[in-house]
């Protein structure tokens, strides 16, 4: 059966605390910490972007897959912060990992679910027998407008997955997609920051689509919430996934391992994919995992994975996701953050 043969994550080392942002805008840090379960978020360095983080995540996935990169037939990168408006991120990433030139390449965009879109298509190509391996990456260096509520959560990170049929570590037993036209969050051409519809991003957007996809995939697979060792939802903050999990009948412990947002922030296209890498780092053979992404606009992709006995061979072959989260981090002040995120207007 087709599934994941290698996975890897990457997050930059810089962090800014919610208190530091709140101090600048005169808001109440506690309301973000308690209300939205946000503590701190990752910030990319001046020399990091979606392409550099994708390369590092893909290299970690290759270390675990132990395959010749020339056998990768597709490179798909999902992001809403591709460095070029025109020139796919996948061209640089495919070249850097040694997958070129016999490879199909495309960049995906769908707000925060662009990463799982790439995973969905990569898996489909493997199931169709079109290629031996396919690489899908979700990565973002997302930006919130200064003082906007999003500024407390928009973060940077990447997760990469190599799909194949040999030496699979996590079989994909079911997939399901759920999508409607819902204008909860968008960014028009030439606009630097996205716009969102405030509270409208909740019930008719995030909750409706995550629940629509989760309920449907559990129905077609005949699974119940208690059948899953872990569940990973998209994490725009720490509160939404916890709430939707409760509404769907999951226990907090099932979400715990994959819930990275409180100490990582929302890595957009990397969000639920990075949560999945953290789960794969500790998953045991036979366990089943439910993952449901969410992208504004709006839609959700759902996947059910079944862990094979091969997982234990590869978990230690590359840095774990929590290594990137907990080791080596350094806190920055708002001034440094503004410089790193290019929020300061420079002279000519």
């Amino acid at each position: 059966m087709a599934g994941i043969v290698g996975y890897g994550a990457y997050a930059p080392r810089y962090r800014i605390k919610v208190e530091e942002i709140a101090k600048v805008w005169g808001t109440d840090a506690e309301s973000y910490k308690r209300g939205l379960r946000l503590e701190e978020k990752s910030v990319p360095g001046l020399d990091q972007d979606v392409i550099t983080m994708s390369v590092e995540a893909a290299r970690n996935a290759l270390k675990r897959a132990r395959i010749d990169p020339k056998k990768i037939g597709a490179v798909y990168i999902g992001s809403e912060s591709h460095p070029y408006a025109v020139k796919p991120s996948g061209t640089v990433v495919g070249e850097a990992i040694g997958a070129t030139p016999d490879v199909h390449c495309a960049d995906f965009e769908f707000a925060c679910k662009a990463g799982t879109e790439g995973m969905f298509v990569a898996l489909g190509l493997i199931e169709a027998g079109k290629m031996e391996y396919a690489l899908a990456i979700g990565a973002d260096t997302s930006q919130g407008a200064p003082s906007d509520a999003l500024e407390y959560s928009t973060a940077a990170g990447a997760a990469a997955f190599i799909f194949g049929t040999k030496d699979v570590i996590a079989e994909v037993t079911h997939t399901f997609s759920y999508m409607t036209d819902t204008p909860d969050f968008w960014r028009r051409e030439y606009m630097h920051y996205p716009r969102h519809a405030g509270r409208f991003t909740g019930a008719p957007a995030y909750f409706k689509h995550i629940k629509g996809a989760a309920k449907a995939i559990m129905e077609i697979s005949g699974k119940k919430p208690e059948d899953f060792a872990h569940v990973v939802f998209h994490q725009p903050n720490g509160k939404f996934p916890t709430t939707v999990g409760k509404q769907l009948g999951f226990k907090p412990q099932q979400l715990e391992t994959g819930l990275l947002c409180p100490r990582l922030g929302n890595t957009y296209s990397g969000s639920s994919p990075m949560g999945l890498t953290a789960v794969l780092d500790v998953a045991k053979p036979g366990e089943e995992i439910l993952m449901v992404s969410y992208g504004s606009g709006a839609g959700s992709d759902a996947f059910i994975y079944r862990i094979t006995e091969k997982i234990t061979e590869v978990q230690g072959l590359a840095p774990k996701t929590t290594d990137y989260l907990d080791r080596n981090k350094v806190y920055i002040d708002y001034g440094t953050y503004a410089k790193l995120r290019k929020k300061i207007r420079m002279g000519e």
């Binding site: 080392r13 360095g45 020399d47 550099t52 290299r59 640089v92 850097a96 990992i97 040694g98």
Partner: protein, 132 residues
């Protein structure tokens, strides 16, 4: 030749650290050479350099060229990779006062520079301290 064309020509070295291993004496050259400086042979096998090493020496740039001014102060170092090959590159993700000779580093893929707001983005390798 424009910077873009030169950058493109050097992609195998910049992105994948492709070196030339002499089929005669086994010496590894980075960047690759046409003739081995050790034994004079002209046949080479392409090998990828390891991504771990240690700082052999470094210097701190405090007054950089204008395109790097937002990164100052930053360190340029000579890295001795695990197989003994020496690599000269920027040492990122650290303040210069943290650096020391012998410090373990990992090679990461980073943005090197942008050719202005509208030009291409040049990527390549940098060393980052390993703090495990």
């Amino acid at each position: 030749m424009s910077t873009s064309a030169r950058y493109w020509r050097e992609i195998p070295q910049r992105y994948r650290l492709e070196a030339g291993k002499c089929s005669g004496c086994g010496a590894i050259w980075f960047p690759p050479r046409l003739v081995c400086k050790e034994c004079g042979k002209r046949e080479f096998e392409v090998v990828n350099l390891p991504d771990r090493g240690k700082v052999q020496t470094f210097t701190v740039i405090r007054v950089p060229p204008s395109e790097f001014c937002d990164q100052a102060p930053y360190a340029l170092g000579v890295i001795e990779l695990e197989n003994g090959v020496l690599l000269q590159c920027q040492i990122a993700d650290c303040s210069p006062d943290e650096l020391s000779v012998g410090m373990p580093v990992r090679i990461e893929f980073r943005k090197i520079k942008e050719e202005g707001e509208a030009g291409i983005i040049c990527y390549g390798y940098k060393a980052v301290p390993v703090r495990e």
